[in-house]
Symmetry: C2
Subunit: 198 residues, 2 copies
């Protein structure tokens, strides 16, 4: 369980922003509990909320016309969870967001937040900071697909989310790194073998 106020430093990096403003922002949020396996956002709906994960774990994924799932992201405490691209484009959502464990969110109404941002330069800057962090994350991911092998992507994933490794089913990890569950299983077998050789 994270204390939302502890996130102040991370988001204020763009320039001076008062704790007061940040607290005002946090005050907009409503706590919401999601049971394991339940969805808090689904395709088709107009997206009305974004959320900060306080506790638990969620995954973002979409399903293509042929029914194949692709996991876009996992998000744990202190991270944002929302169909961000769709909010930006004001389009109906195409992504599922599902809890992988009992999860507590702090949810924000997009319109209410936007209204606040339209009146405050600091909140506008906060909004900008949110997107910037998301952007850097995606660019990182692009790098991984361009320059790393599946095995390297897997090891990177393990290093990044050690605390979640046992909460996430293997086939979802596979989907996240862009391979099939069978291929991931083989990679894991390879990795174990290499470790034994030392």
């Amino acid at each position: 369980m994270v204390d939302p106020a502890s996130l102040y430093e991370r988001f204020s990096a763009l320039g001076a922003m008062s704790r007061r403003t940040f607290a005002d922002f946090l005050a907009l949020g409503e706590e919401k509990r999601i049971a394991k396996h339940a969805f808090w956002s689904q395709p088709g709906e107009k997206v009305r909320h974004f959320a900060l994960v306080l506790e638990g774990l969620v995954r973002h994924y979409y399903v293509d016309p042929k029914g194949r799932e692709s996991v876009k992201a996992f998000r744990g405490p202190g991270e944002f969870s929302a169909p961000y691209a769709e909010i930006i484009q004001r389009k109906p959502s195409r992504t599922f967001i599902q809890a992988l464990a009992d999860t507590t969110l702090l949810t924000f109404d997009v319109d209410v937040f936007e209204e606040m941002a339209s009146r405050s330069l600091e909140v506008q800057r906060l909004a900008r900071r949110f997107v910037e962090l998301h952007f850097v994350g995606k660019e990182q991911r692009e790098y991984e697909f361009l320059q790393l092998s599946a095995e390297e992507r897997y090891q990177k994933f393990c290093a990044e989310r050690p605390e979640h490794l046992n909460q996430i089913p293997q086939h979802q990890v596979a989907s996240y790194i862009g391979i099939t569950p069978v291929a991931l299983s083989r990679i894991r077998a390879r990795v174990v073998k290499k470790q034994k050789m030392r």
Copy 2:
């Protein structure tokens, strides 16, 4: 050659922004000409500028420790060109930006722009809008790596940048879609064969 003022609609989508503010922003820019094959931004430097492409074409790429190049993006008239992730993170640049044709840029000093944004909610919103569009682009790219085959990615690329296809060397296209030049050559041969069958 694009008229920068014509971009007003694209960037004002987030909320009301006056043409006046947008013009003030544009007034910060300085025109800069880059000869074909020259670089306008290179790794190692502290990043001081971002730019709008007025005419021509550039590519963004990085080189890994083993010397392998990966193309992150091509940018033509009306699009932004900058090591954006590094600006956001205030880190020295890791990316090369090279002109693929004689190119005219409208360059902006990051600090000057930031100063302007710190005084104007509308400019702050504009800055936010810039990042949002970049974010959506990266998410699109993530989708392509997760769900499309190399051949599909190639055809998508052809559809997206028909006007640049003959300006961009094949091996750079290959790098952009995440395969080797040899593989792209085979794919092209396959595609031609399929077209003949009709």
